[in-house]
Symmetry: C2
Subunit: 147 residues, 2 copies
């Protein structure tokens, strides 16, 4: 478990990998993003994606799973104060294996909560060819080391 | 179905409502965000949330479901070029009923794709007391009216 003081700008953290199946892409889409290009190979083939692709919010959800199970491990858990610059530069396809590369951009004390600080982290999600399929900057609320 | 030319700055769109159950909060969390405050009432009571709360990415996913099933209905579907300023100003609790209020902020032609344009939309997710539980600005790729 890492307190705010254990993080420093420029540190990087990687994650385990997570393979995404066609069934998972469709199951997420049925519940949360029922658009043809996330649900059906044939329809997806005729869409702007040119084939079945995961919902961007599915990729974000899978990324959260990799973060929570990874070794960044902020004290108090992952409490998101906000996310900026969320982009999906490439599609996630059935069978793709995702992993994360995270870089600490900034740490600072919190004015309103003396027990906590804020940390900005760039979270990049890459596939098995090291192509970036998603990127965002998260601002996390992280506990400070107890005195 | 609305083409880029059918949207104008300042237009607002609302959505249907979606109630969120404790079981849904926990099921999403087990798969994507397995942190105690999303999984277990007792642990959540001792956390910064003071009770079970939905993962922010779950709220984002539910928001996408309301968007896709709503009447904004952009031609070509919801193709996200990016999301900015994603914030969760309040928690989503079991039993909460969510709905959206969306406002068109900007529409413009795409330089790289003459058949498409880009639209920026503020998407606010509110609960049954009209408290904002999530807000973001989406940039969508929208088809232009065929000549």
């Amino acid at each position: 478990m890492r307190y705010l003081e254990d993080f420093a700008v420029g540190q990087t953290y990687e994650s385990a990998t997570k393979q995404v199946s066609s069934d998972e892409i469709k199951a997420y889409a049925r519940e949360f993003d029922p658009q043809p290009f996330h649900l059906d190979e044939v329809a997806a083939g005729h869409s702007i994606f040119g084939g079945l692709a995961a919902s961007g919010w599915h990729t974000a959800s899978l990324t959260m799973g990799l973060l929570v199970r990874g070794d960044l491990d902020p004290a108090g858990g992952f409490i998101g104060a906000g996310v900026d610059e969320l982009r999906w530069p490439g599609p996630v396809r059935p069978g793709d294996e995702l992993h994360l590369v995270c870089e600490v951009l900034e740490t600072r004390e919190s004015r309103s909560r003396p027990t906590h600080g804020l940390m900005r982290v760039r979270v990049n999600t890459l596939n098995q060819r090291n192509e970036t399929v998603q990127t965002f900057v998260a601002t996390l609320l992280v506990q400070r080391k107890p005195r």
